[in-house]
Structures are given as C-alpha cells and as structure tokens.
Symmetry: C2
C-alpha cells in the first residue's frame, strides 16, 4: 500500500497509527523505536513498513490528522456561539477538553514538530496558522462589539491557545480532575483574560 496522503486509513493502518501515537506521546518520536510501535500494536517489527514508507511518515500522518481534528474543534466552537463571548468561551473550553482527552496525540501535535521533514513541517505549519487565525478572528469580533478589551490581539490569541496546549503536557488520566472539570474552569479563565468591564 504505502499511501500516506489525505485518504482514510484502513483498519490495519489505524492500528499502527494508534500504537505509534501512544508511543510518541509518551516517549517522543526519537525515544520510540519501530519495534516499540510494533509491540504496542501486537504485530511484527516489519509491519510498519507494509503500510508506511518511513517512521517519519507515520509521525506526519498522526500529526496531520491531529492538527485537522484540533482545527475542527476550534472552528466548530467558533461557529456554535452566537456572540464573541460565547464563541471564545466554547473555543477555550473545547480546546482544553480536546487536549485533556487526547493528550497523547496532543503531545505529538504540539511537541514533535521538530522531528518532521521540512516539507511535512511546512504542511503542518499551514494548519497551525489557521488555528491562530480562527482564534484571532473571534477576538477581533469581540473587540469590535466592545465585549472584549485586550492590548495585543495576536499575543492574547496565543495565550488563549497556550492554556489549552499546556493541558496536554500536564494532564494525567490518573489525576484528580476529569477533562470536563478542567475544560469548564479554563473557559472562565480565558474569558476573564479578554472581557471588558
């Protein structure tokens, strides 16, 4: 097979991707061997190369799918709210929720960009810029309506996203809080950062 593009992965491919995402999320790309991935997937060491040409292509596919998912979370949240305040609240909440629930993939998405080939990195950078764009647009709408008051739109957009991103770093499923608790609280924190009063 060895197709890697935008097509839907088969069941077997998804199994490799899931195993690799779990490993990459825990030990990082360079800390994970192809044998680790095979073991996690309960398959032979060679199975990776039946479906993907290189280990880096596996990373790219995980990163790409993860970024598409995260971007969709942001877009859906922004579309759901009827006011900028609602939009930013939903955005911050759902972004944090996704990072808590999918923290393995989230770690790959946010911390393994440097392991991508230059060509792949560029594709991913495109998606990341769109994520910032969506957030900035919600902030700008709130500034126009007078609901928000912030000194630096770009820097504040980064900060709103930072809150969510960093959840992926510290969140543990064995911890005290549920993903939903964290997300609800982060919605409030993000809104406080931007609201005028």
């Amino acid at each position: 097979m060895q197709q890697v593009g935008e097509t839907q992965p088969t069941v077997a491919q998804q199994r490799v991707l899931d195993a690799a995402a779990a490993c990459f999320g825990e030990r990082g790309f360079h800390g994970t061997t192809t044998r680790d991935i095979a073991k996690q997937a309960q398959l032979s060491p060679a199975v990776l190369y039946v479906h993907y040409p290189t280990k880096e292509d596996v990373l790219y596919e995980i990163s790409r799918a993860g970024h598409v998912a995260a971007l969709e979370v942001l877009r859906a949240a922004a579309a759901r709210g009827s006011t900028p305040t609602e939009q930013l609240g939903e955005l911050a909440q759902d972004f944090a929720l996704w990072h808590a629930r999918s923290h393995a993939v989230a770690r790959v998405v946010n911390y393994e960009l440097g392991a991508l080939s230059p060509a792949h990195h560029e594709q991913i950078a495109l998606l990341r810029r769109q994520m910032e764009q969506v957030t900035r647009e919600v902030l700008e709408a709130g500034l126009d309506s007078g609901e928000f008051a912030v000194a630096n739109t770009s820097l504040t957009a980064l900060a709103v996203l930072s809150l969510g991103v960093d959840v992926g770093r510290w969140f543990k499923t064995t911890g005290t809080w549920q993903p939903e608790d964290v997300a609800k609280h982060y919605r409030e924190l993000a809104l406080r950062m931007v609201l005028a009063h």
Copy 2:
C-alpha cells in the same frame, strides 16, 4: 571528575552543559547524539565522558539547574511584591520572561522529564511541586485579602504557570516580540484571570 551533585560546575563542564542544553532544547534528548553535543562545544566526541558518567547525567544536571533557576525566579518575584496582586503580577511576568529568554533550557526543563531516570525524575518532581506551591500560596493570600476570586486554586495556579511554560514552546528570538513585551502582556493576562471586581 565525574561529579554531578550540587557543586558548581567548572568552566569546562559548563561548556559541555551549554552545548548540551542548546542541542536538547532544539532536538530533544533522544534526538541529540553525544557527538552533536561535542560538535556544538567544539570538542572531541569523548569529552562528555571526562566530566559526566552518562548522557542522562548531563540532562539531569541541566534540568536540575534549570528548575532551581526557575524556582528562584518565582520565589524572588513573590518576595518582591508587597500585596498579593503585586506578587502575582511579578511572578507571572518574571516567569514568562525567564521562559522567553532561556527558552532552550526551558524546553529541557518542561519537556524532557520523561527522559530522566526514575531516581533523577523524583528529585526534579520535588522542585516542580515547590514551584506550584509558591504560586498557590500567592493565590491563597490574594483570596484571603479579597483581592482575588477564583473557583479552583490549584487549577488556577497551574494555569498561571502554563502561560509561562508555553512561552518556552513558541517563543523564537527571531520573532516579532521581545521577551520583555511578552512578559509585560502576560502579567496583565494572569492578573485578569484572578482579580476580583
């Protein structure tokens, strides 16, 4: 020599540490070879083992010194302010400033914990708990005085630190903003998250 403890590193040791920190910060611990470090330090591949028993010990020393420095930043900021509002402002500002200025070391500090040996990891975890402790105490002082109003002290402390931590991920020296600009803005964002009104 091969001493790794709490003693001051010699000039030669510091040179190895600086080179390793630059490499680890850019490509991660597992993405960096001992030859990379030697090349960065403009020394022979074997030089690392003159001063440290293993590559992991170099990581530990960088991580330990980095955590001590970051903790000191937090403590100094908290000690400087005369009110909880001032304290948290200074804390958020200086923490972000440190992460912007020392973003290479900061990345090692925050993202390479998993590469430490269990024994070393435990030592570092001690320092990290103290960092959260300092932040929580400032928040609690502000709650007692009525200056702050937050629903969940621990989660809010995490969020305040998150803002700074994530600066280490995205900050580039070649970017638009200076470390001081980011830090000033982040002071405001952190204060907005916690202030009562």
